[in-house]
């Protein structure tokens, strides 16, 4: 069974204080790993897809990296508008295109 574990559950940062969120996964062959952002009362918003170990993707203050067992979402010099819950999901190689999500990391950036 595919599993995704995200840590920490919650993270409070001062504005400008860089940090990383972790996503550990077990899957029977990885088709892709995905990061989403979710604001309160909204649906998740797609950020990145990573396909193979060593791959990196960047968008503004966010950079996602992937190894064979985990992914990191690095946040550089965060701003209050980066406050949200960040969700990690995996898609297995064989068969269905369903995503298995973790519980998310709730990020709060304090001005």
């Amino acid at each position: 069974e595919d599993q995704v574990t995200q840590s920490p559950e919650a993270l409070r940062l001062q504005e400008g204080e860089s940090s990383s969120l972790n996503c550990s996964y077990t899957v029977s062959g990885l088709r892709g790993l995905f990061w989403y952002r979710q604001d309160p009362g909204k649906g998740p918003e797609f950020l990145f897809t990573l396909y193979s170990a060593g791959e990196e993707k960047e968008k503004e203050r966010l950079k996602a990296t992937l190894t064979k067992k985990e992914s990191f979402l690095h946040i550089t010099a965060p701003k209050p508008e980066d406050s949200a819950t960040y969700l990690c999901a995996v898609q297995a190689e064989a068969g269905s295109y369903q995503l298995t999500f973790g519980k998310g990391t709730k990020l709060s950036v304090i001005p």
């Binding site: 998740p44 797609f46 295109y97 369903q98 995503l99 999500f101």
Partner: protein, 114 residues
């Protein structure tokens, strides 16, 4: 509108009642997905469609849950004999195809079963 539209945004019902939740995907998106999300949890897969057919319904929790997409566009999630444990936000998403994992989610339908 340009995004995925879900109605109703909020539904309060009594235990044992029947509920329908509607999803209008982005025009031209062939794949449509239903997930549900409980408080403090990540979205949990229910079912997805490629065109009109259900490609994978393995996430539906039991036979009280059923979903249709008769013309390959709008989808309806139907829940019979609702139970308090069905209370959650039901999220719909669509995508151009199945590959890539870039799903466009709606804002969800919050279902409360009293």
């Amino acid at each position: 509108g340009a995004g995925v539209s879900q109605t109703p945004s909020n539904k309060v019902t009594e235990k044992g009642k029947y509920v329908e939740l509607r999803c209008d995907p982005i025009s031209g998106h062939t794949a449509l997905y239903w997930y549900r999300q409980s408080l403090g949890q990540g979205p949990e897969f229910l079912i997805y469609f490629q065109g009109t057919g259900a490609a994978d319904d393995s996430g539906l929790p039991n036979d009280r849950f059923f979903a249709v997409r008769p013309e390959g566009s709008v989808s309806t999630l139907k829940i019979q004999r609702t139970e308090r444990g069905d209370s959650a936000v039901y999220l719909c998403a669509s995508s151009l195809g199945l590959a890539g994992g870039e799903l466009f989610f709606g804002e969800g339908s919050r279902l409360t079963v009293l």
